[in-house]
């Protein structure tokens, strides 16, 4: 695997997921002055554990990918500790076989002034469960959780996220978007907890779903539990369909209906990919999106 153009010899590569040959990860880190930091991804039960040292900026790119047609199960697990002032960008792409089950578990301990950013792209696989637990254990810690999930056929995708604000002045942002076709099911179950000590917390959580068929279903359960009194928290969710007015507008300009639909689906999802800072990764994700949202009608 060679993605992200980040192919320094000091980078760590590995195969955290069992049973999927094309899967793997790429981890690299630098100090603020640009010097390369050697990181260890130690094996732990069911996955890996990595600690990002103070002030260090790291990137973790993880692909779970296979073309195997038969049923199989893969899992991936990351235990991540971000020390003071550290930053990690985690990109995860799930593109498993049509009958595959994939379980992903990410646990992050975000310490003082550290920043954890997670970008999850769930494109293929029969059953995908994505679980992310983030604890903001230091003051001024922040996290960004972004996810794009695409369902068709009878695919079932579950997202369970937890952001636990434990200390003051933490910031969390969460945006999960689902595109559901066929008889697929998409679940977003997101809990934000603001502990008593976590004053001045600033949190926003959003889940948006686009249903492409009458039989697809989205379940959205954004939840906030606030025990502090001086906080700014908001959350919301939407479940909608292709906008008839937008569709007619495009068709009235000569764009055929199927292409207009594709463009609108693309428009819904593209912001999630455009925000990816690694051009080579964007070049992988955009075709995946096209493929995953191509409706066979």
């Amino acid at each position: 695997m060679n993605i992200g153009g980040a192919s320094s010899p000091q980078a760590v590569r590995g195969n955290p997921a069992s049973g999927a040959a094309a899967s793997g990860f790429h981890l690299e880190a630098r100090n603020r002055d640009g010097s390369v930091v050697q990181l260890k991804a130690e094996p732990v039960e069911g996955g890996r554990r990595v600690t990002i040292p103070p002030g260090c900026q790291a990137t973790l790119i993880e692909k779970n990918e296979s073309l195997r047609p038969e049923p199989y199960t893969t899992q991936s697990k990351w235990e991540i500790v971000l020390a003071e002032g550290a930053k990690l960008n985690h990109y995860k792409l799930v593109h498993e076989g049509p009958q595959a089950t994939h379980h992903s578990f990410i646990e992050a301990d975000v310490q003082k002034s550290a920043s954890f950013q997670s970008h999850v792209f769930l494109f293929e696989g029969a059953q995908i469960r994505n679980t992310i637990h983030v604890r903001l254990t230091g003051e001024d810690a922040e996290c960004l959780l972004e996810g794009l999930y695409v369902g068709s056929g009878s695919r079932v995708i579950e997202n369970h996220t937890l952001v636990d604000h434990q200390k003051p002045r933490g910031t969390s942002r969460e945006l999960y978007k689902g595109i559901l076709d066929g008889q697929s099911r998409g679940l977003f179950d997101g809990l934000v907890i603001v502990q008593k000590e976590a004053q001045k917390t600033d949190s926003a959580q959003t889940n948006k779903n686009l249903l492409l068929s009458t039989e697809a279903k989205a379940f959205s359960n954004p939840e906030l539990k606030i025990f502090a009194h001086d906080v700014k928290c908001r959350h919301g969710s939407t479940i909608g369909q292709i906008d008839a007015a937008q569709l007619f507008y495009m068709r009235s300009r000569g764009v055929p209906q199927a292409e207009a639909r594709r463009l609108l689906i693309y428009a819904f999802a593209s912001e999630m990919i455009e925000q990816v800072e690694i051009p080579a990764l964007r070049d992988i994700l955009f075709p995946c999106l096209n493929l995953a949202t191509y409706t066979k009608k």
Binding site: R251, S252, R253, G254, V255, P256, Y266, A267, F268
Partner: protein, 252 residues
Amino acid sequence: MLEIKDLQASVGDKQILHGVSLKINKGEVHAIMGPNGSGKSTLANVLAGREGYTVTGGQVLYDGKNLLDRTPEDRAGDGLFLAFQYPVEIPGVSNTYFMKTALNAIRKHQSRPELDAIDFLKVIKDKAKLVDIPETMLARGVNEGFSGGEKKRNEILQMAILEPRLCLLDETDSGLDIDALQIVARGINALRGPDRAFIVVTHYQRLLNFVQPDFVHVLSGGRIVKSGGKDLALELEEKGYGWLEEEKIGAR
């Protein structure tokens, strides 16, 4: 070019058009005026093929062929264009990309070669000047965050790029200040030509000071109650629509 014969249409349970007949030849500019609720916008939307409008009688021939059984994209491919009264915002699809997709879809429909990105960029930059649209607006999502005037200018830009043969303008002048109105009018006038026809739907005579129509029709209660030359618009401006209603009642 376009022949509307006794067209009747409804929205939901409500009959809006009660038999509209109109003949438009190439090169002509027809203004359709009338009070609110007279059916002007319904007529424009039925011609463009919008869902939710049911044709209950009559027919429309475009180039001698039935227009009403065709999809909106086929109508556009054959040179019909509707400038919307309320242009739709499409965040996430850039103006440039949308216009390139639309132009190439139309060219494909007409069995003409598609334009590549570089050639298209030349076209859009050239046309954008006509309606004073800066390049930054071309990169933004379609109509996303545009002001009312910018949206209407963008409609004219699309019209200039797609080069339709029959242009329907649905209250393009509404909500425009005088500067924006002149820009829009300049765009329309630049497109006037011997092979292109216009149907300008408007509530006010104002736009017609800048875009001189060949014919003016007054739509009222779902029927054309009076037709005339451009002087009719001035007469309407002076007297309002009330006198036509009275004339119609008197004639019964």
